[in-house]
Every structure is written in structure tokens, then in C-alpha cells.
Symmetry: C2
Subunit: 379 residues, 2 copies
Amino acid sequence: MKKTYLFTPGPTQIPPDVVLAEASPMIHHRTSEFSDIFANVSEDLKYIFQTNDGEVFTFASSGTGGMEACVVNSLSRGDKAVVVRGGKFGERWAQLCETFGVTVVSVDVENGKAVDPDVLNDTIQREKEVKAVFATLSETSTGVVHNIEAIAKVVKGHNLLLVVDAISGIGVHPLMMDAWGIDIAVTGSQKGCMLPPGLAFVCVAKSAWGAIEKSDLPKYYWNFKKMQKALSNRTTAYTPAISLIMAAGKALAMIREEGIENVWSRHAKLANATREGVKALGLELFAGDASGNVLTSVKAPEGVNIDAGIKKLRDETGVTITGGQDELKGKIFRIGHMGYVNEFDIVLAISAVEKILYENGYKMELGKGVSRVQEILVG
Amino acid sequence: MKKTYLFTPGPTQIPPDVVLAEASPMIHHRTSEFSDIFANVSEDLKYIFQTNDGEVFTFASSGTGGMEACVVNSLSRGDKAVVVRGGKFGERWAQLCETFGVTVVSVDVENGKAVDPDVLNDTIQREKEVKAVFATLSETSTGVVHNIEAIAKVVKGHNLLLVVDAISGIGVHPLMMDAWGIDIAVTGSQKGCMLPPGLAFVCVAKSAWGAIEKSDLPKYYWNFKKMQKALSNRTTAYTPAISLIMAAGKALAMIREEGIENVWSRHAKLANATREGVKALGLELFAGDASGNVLTSVKAPEGVNIDAGIKKLRDETGVTITGGQDELKGKIFRIGHMGYVNEFDIVLAISAVEKILYENGYKMELGKGVSRVQEILVG
């Protein structure tokens, strides 16, 4: 008997009521019934992004598609963009810009570190005619959370466009579109929003429309203007992923009911307990002080084949944590704790980590991790 | 009390077992468990497209995104393409090509008619250096089905690339990738595949790869090469819409179990009964002899506000048929009968059409439509 528990940095666990909403009878999307649901979802998304003046467009797409939408709507061929590159997903901004003929200036950040806003500032000052800065709230590949508020101050100081990949960060860490002056931000459904993957949500502030009007990159499916027109008619430009949007109606209402501030502080508490739990086992955080509340990335101890251990755990018990990607493969493991996660989930996750390590000959005192979690969360 | 029945040309009704599969516990997509499901789905899709040599790529996207993928992967800036334009969706091919700097030569076909292959042939002969022909299997806006086999003969005679929008046609009408020599075809999940919207399936024949290698249009999310590499590793390039793919595992297995030839003949029988049913009520088919088996488009009788009648029916009973789009608004209504539809559904649909017309003062003998359907399907 296996019980499925996802501690992956997306997809995340789906609340049963959200699954039920997803399984509702299919409805046609050009009806008032759908429009009522969609209008509510679009309003709740504004709350998640903390914007009054902005709009949120819902694409049937992975998060990467939403990132592509950000690039092709805001820039023109030959424009220069500064990209904060601190891992696989920062790198994705750079690849996207280059694909569409945008010149990229990278601010390279060591894996596991957060960007220094002063270095970003210096880069912008040194370069001529930068149009936009692309940043990442939570770098899923390393577990680092960047200080978007500080980045926004720098970018706004130069009057540039700020585009933020908030895919794995939103609903976990504060992201204040209006208060911080972010122009465009994107997230995917399968992270803090507690939904299956398949939707990309792109929040566009009023301040972004000047750049959007000027943009000459080719776009059809991703066209913000068509999406804005459709949204004003309470629908999408092309056939929406109806079952996922019905699920979103429930999931976002749950976040609104809990209150976004409470959601943030719940994640802070659970992430802290996770970090303390792994440290109690003698392990070291990969991202140190830059560790975010989305996932905890941990250095794999010497002599432990972590990926084999993760696979065995999943196959035998149904509990899923993940290893490192690309150059971090085999070097780290990652415990996702975003979305539909509570204190008992953290006990379970750390218990599973203990099991992997113990079975792989890592010298440790069994129970020390879960005890530390108990002290923090119950004590 | 309302009971939901969708007779819309997408989304279509979802079989309960498919809903259950969609509601399965969420799993991580970088696991053998997901890869096993995805590999089966990809094989079943090859069967649906009737290809041995081709590959089918699954995008988290609406059908329109899949169409964009076809354009940006197969053409280069300044290429010339011939587009068969016989309605809203033929027009979409033209818009997509133009958006990406492809020169479009249109073969305009009157709404409600199918393209004449000889006219297509003449157009290709007259134009110089055409690279590709874009066609539509089932033009959802008018109910017309084009003769793709005849179109393919013409296009192959000139050794050009043939790209087919089979979004609402596949799983209803035969589409033989290999036998007819189609290079690229696309469909969406929410039509004959009996799934919720949110997936685009793009079938790429071996013959298409020469053009794909040469294509210089910018692409990232839609990149076929990345999807091919991912497929060879039994996964997708970016996070897949996992719950929809789990649903696809069930829905496509149902089609395979019924047998695609049986699925085609079921649709032919049900569509014929629908056409005869509406004709028995004194109504006229909008697409005449070109009417396909995907949906039946019917001229709205004089003096009947068909869109108001459709809305009242939906609001009061939960039965949904659709009106016309754009310039056909108010002039036609459309009864979808694709996917999870059997003979009793057709009786129900014609009964609902009778109700709308009767309540709107159309002179008719109640029961004449459903009687005719009974004669055909039971007799």
C-alpha cells in the first residue's frame, strides 16, 4: 500500500475540494456560467498578485509559456535586457530573450546565492539603453529567494521595466505588484496556487502598457492585447482549460479565505521547521541564508546516492521529494513545502528524509529531525 | 433541476471514467510513473492520427497554440504559404502566418462550402515558390468537412508541405497521416478525444523534418526539436498538464478499445440521423452536402431569435447547443455530436431543438424530428 505525498517543487498536492471542482460537469466557455467563474478567478488572482490596478491573464500553458508571453509582449527586436541569472530558471529568461532577438546582459549569481541589488544597479548603470530587467522570485532549481522589493527599487530608480518570474514563489512569499512597482509577473498553477499544472497566470500592471504598445516581437497565442480585450468580456482569447479554471475557482477562494498574509506566515513557519529539521540531522542547507520558503534545498551528504534513495522512497512509499537538476544532479535534494501543506506534512517529510539517509548508511540519530520539527511547530 | 448535456463543437462531454482519471492523485512528472502514462498516451495518439512513422507532441495549450507551433516550426520569414480559408479557423491559419512574416495566398471558399481541389491546384500552379499549404479538416464555424485526402494529392503533386488543422475533426472523420502523406496535423483535447480543453496534440511526420530543420522563425515553448528530444525520454520539454494527461490515458484507451474505424462509423451514423432529424422539421442544412460528422450547422428559420432560444434552453434545462460566430451570429445554430455521444444523445438533442423552435413560434409538428431520428437509429 502506497500513499501519495508530493513534496516536490511543483506539482504540489491538490486539496480534495479542488479536485472535486476540477471534476465538475464540463460546461461551454462562451456562456454566462463560465464567465461568472472566470471573472471570480481573475479577481482572486489580482488578490494573489496584490494588485488593484493590474490585470491577470490566464493562459492554457505551462509556466514557461507564460514567461515567453512576458518577453514577446514587452520587448522589441534588438532591445537590451538585463537578466538576473541565478539558476536554471534565471537562465530560461536569458534563453527566451535571445530566442526572440533581444540582447541579454547577464547578472550571474552563484548557485545558491541571492543577487546583490548593488551589483544589479552597477550593471544597469554600466550598460547603455537597457529596456527591461528580468528577475526570479524563487529560483526553484536552488531554493534561493531573491529580494524582489530591493530589485524593484533599483529598477524603478532607472525607470526600467521589471518582469518577475514568480512561478514558484507566489502564494508563498509576498509579491506586491502595486506596492513594489512590478510591471509584469508570471506564475504557474501547480505551485502555491494548489492546482494541477496547465495554467499560466500573467499579471500586467498599468505601467507595462507603454512597453507593450511599442513591442514589435511577433505574437499571436500570447498576445496581451487580445487577452485584455477578452478579459473585459469576462473570457479568454482562445478556448480556456475549463476544468483547471473551475478548479482555480475553488483553490483561489481557499487562499482568500485563509488570507494571503496568513498563507505567507504559514509557509514561513513550515519552511523554518524544515530547515531546522534537516540541520538537526547534521545536514547543510544548499542556499544558506538565501533559502526561501518554497522549498528547502539540502546538500546531499558524502557517500549517499541521493537520487537512488529518492527513487526507492517514492517507489516503496509514494512519498516524493526531488533531487537536483542539471549540474546540481546528485549534489542536492529538495523538499517542496508550498501550497496545501500543514505542520504534519513537515513531520512526514522529515521522517522520509531520515528514512532515506538511514537506509543509505548516513550516520545519524533516528528521530532527531522529526523531534526538532515537533519542538518548533508544536512547542 | 438541470442536467448538463453539451452538444457544443468543443468542449464535448467527458466520460465519467475519464473524469476519474483526471481526478487521480497528483504525481510528479519527472518519474517513471508519469513517463509510463505519457508513453502510452503518445502511442495512442499515433493511432488516433493513423501514423506509424510520425510522432505526436503534447503541449499544455489550447488548439490555437498548437496551430502556432505548426507555423513557427515549419516556415521561415518571407516564405509563401497557401491557406484554404473557408471560415473562422481557416482565417486563423492566415492570421498566424501573417503574424510571423509569412506571405499568405488565400484560397477563399464560401462559408458553408468545401474547397475545390482543382482551385487549390490552380492557385499553387499560378503562384511561384509556395512552401506550404495550410488546410482545415473540419471547419468548426460552418460545419463543413474538407476533403483532406484530395487536398493531400494536390499538395504532394507539387511536393509541398501540408499542414492540417484537424482540431475538431480527428476521432470523428478519418485522417490518415501516413496513407495520405500529411506532414503536420494538430488537434485539441476537447473535441473527439473526449477530454477537457487544455492540451494540443501536434503530429509531425518524418517528411516534415526537412522544413523544420530549415525554419528560422523564433520559437521556444513551441519548439518541436525540444519536444522530440523530450519525447525520446518519455516526457515533455516543460511541465506537462499532468491531470489532463492522466485523463488522456483513459480517454484514448477507450477509443482504441472501440476501434477507430468503429468510432468513425458511429459518428457518421449519428451525424446522418441529426441531419435527417432537422430536415424533418423543415429546416435547411447550412453546409448542405459539405456537412461533416463533427457538428450539424442549420440555418435559423426566419422570425426565430435563435441565440435567445439557445440561452433560454441552457438556463432552464442545462442542454447546450451553440449559435453562429462572427458574421454567422443569429443566422445559424450548431449541434455538436462528437466524442462521447450515442444514439440517445441525438434523440435528446433533436428534442431540445424542437423545444427551442416550438417555444419561439416556429410552425412545426412536434415530435417529427425525434421520430425521424428513431426511424434512422433504431429502424
